[in-house]
Symmetry: C2
Subunit: 259 residues, 2 copies
């Protein structure tokens, strides 16, 4: 038996999230079915973390054990031949025995895309949150910077998931305005992108942060409000949870020796 | 009664093309339903040309007559409020009496996007043709240039559509390689874009040209082959019809006095 590590991208629109659930189309089940067709074995794959329905991945990391002797390149080609169009394997590599995608993850980066403008970007409508109000990026960036460091993030944790601790460390937290990418320059325009890197995230944490940044961006609250929310340690102090479609798991970093 | 002119964008993936057909979701029917809800009247809208199932529009032009007294701005807002997410009205303007979107069109521009690389661009998979072979853009551009001018384009016309003449004039015909636009730089890469402007197009003409350019790009035929195809005036001399998903109607130009 050997342990393989996949990097996966998927379009979350057509999935009920990562985790296997009866009678639902999920990413985990889809990958396991492809592996079953390739190896003839029931294989359980473990991701660095679950993503919710509608959330996308540019670089989800997945591990599994297999007796297959296919080379990594052939395994990648076989998986991409068997997977549907909305999941792509970007790399396959050997992992150390005992590699565990959740436990071993050192840092994760998420990106959230907000399209702020009168018209939605027709060809990216499943990949952003469209708001009609023009957002103040400078105020949002000022608020985002206040999240840096080690804090109790329980104000940004949705109920329904008990963790040993709600303390996390955010290494990067930036808001920028960038040219939106669409299929044609006709649809290009501005979009606001939030990118956050941490040693881990609580349930719905990024989407609750984005909801609060949105209230800062539209002028409902001041950037300093972010400190109040953080200190309150109460989900009610933060704003609404932003919708899933704008959220992307960008990458997951592991210690060099483990990869 | 007044005549209004709309510029529309739509995502062709979810439509069985432009034209109303029984029990099919088409763009024409969708726009007419929205107008019915707004005005209470059955209104027939005419487009600059039909687009096939799967073909997209960045700037389709549509005309219709109405007794509505709504201003253009209010009409645009009302339409966008009533249209589904995959159709957007980009502008509404008054047109001269007798404006006819098909007859009055002077030039049309189409764009065709080919993703050439090992992996598809996951988030643009409905908006390009993915081929795994790296294409020779210089050879394709050389072939594309041979189409410029006034010719009988019947080699590029699919059966099933009788026109008075198959002579058309191509004003621009260029192939370029550009940075592909996706939702994240992780998926950026090269794509090959063909853009063509003419005074009109025969049925499936752009897709038959692209099929032939593809054969040039992959080295199956030389750029000079394009002249042979053009002179043959026989559909069998050209290559396969490229799939619809990569095709975009970019814009339609009318004489200044008609707009």
């Amino acid at each position: 038996m050997r342990t393989l590590r996949l990097t996966l991208a998927y379009d979350g629109m057509g999935f009920d999230g990562w985790q296997v659930q009866p009678n639902r189309r999920t990413v985990q089940q889809t990958v396991q079915q492809a592996l079953h067709r390739i190896t003839g074995k029931e294989i359980t794959v473990i991701a660095s973390g679950r993503t919710d329905a509608g959330v996308h991945a540019l670089g989800q990391v997945v591990g599994f054990r297999t007796a297959s002797t296919l080379t990594c390149d052939v395994m990648m080609q076989a998986l991409n031949a068997h997977l549907p169009q909305d999941v792509v394997v970007l790399s396959v590599m050997e992992a150390e025995d005992g590699f565990h995608p959740i436990r071993d993850a050192e840092r994760k980066t998420y990106r959230y895309v907000i399209r702020d403008g009168q018209l939605p970007n027709l060809f990216c409508r499943g990949y952003c949150w469209h708001v009609s109000q023009r957002l103040n990026v400078q105020a949002m960036q000022s608020a985002a910077q206040r999240l840096l460091g080690t804090h109790d993030f329980s104000s940004f944790e949705s109920a329904g998931s008990k963790r040993v601790t709600s303390i996390r460390t955010i290494f990067e937290s930036t808001v920028r305005r960038e040219q939106s990418r669409g299929v044609g320059e006709e649809f290009e325009g501005d979009q606001v992108v939030y990118e956050v890197t941490a040693d881990g995230f609580l349930y719905n944490m990024v989407r609750a942060i984005v909801g609060t940044l949105y209230d800062v961006g539209r002028g409902a609250v001041a950037p300093e409000h972010m400190e109040f929310v953080l200190q309150a340690c109460d989900r009610k102090s933060a704003s609404m949870t932003a919708p899933p479609l704008g959220l992307f798991l960008v990458n997951v970093k592991y210690p060099t020796h483990g990869s």
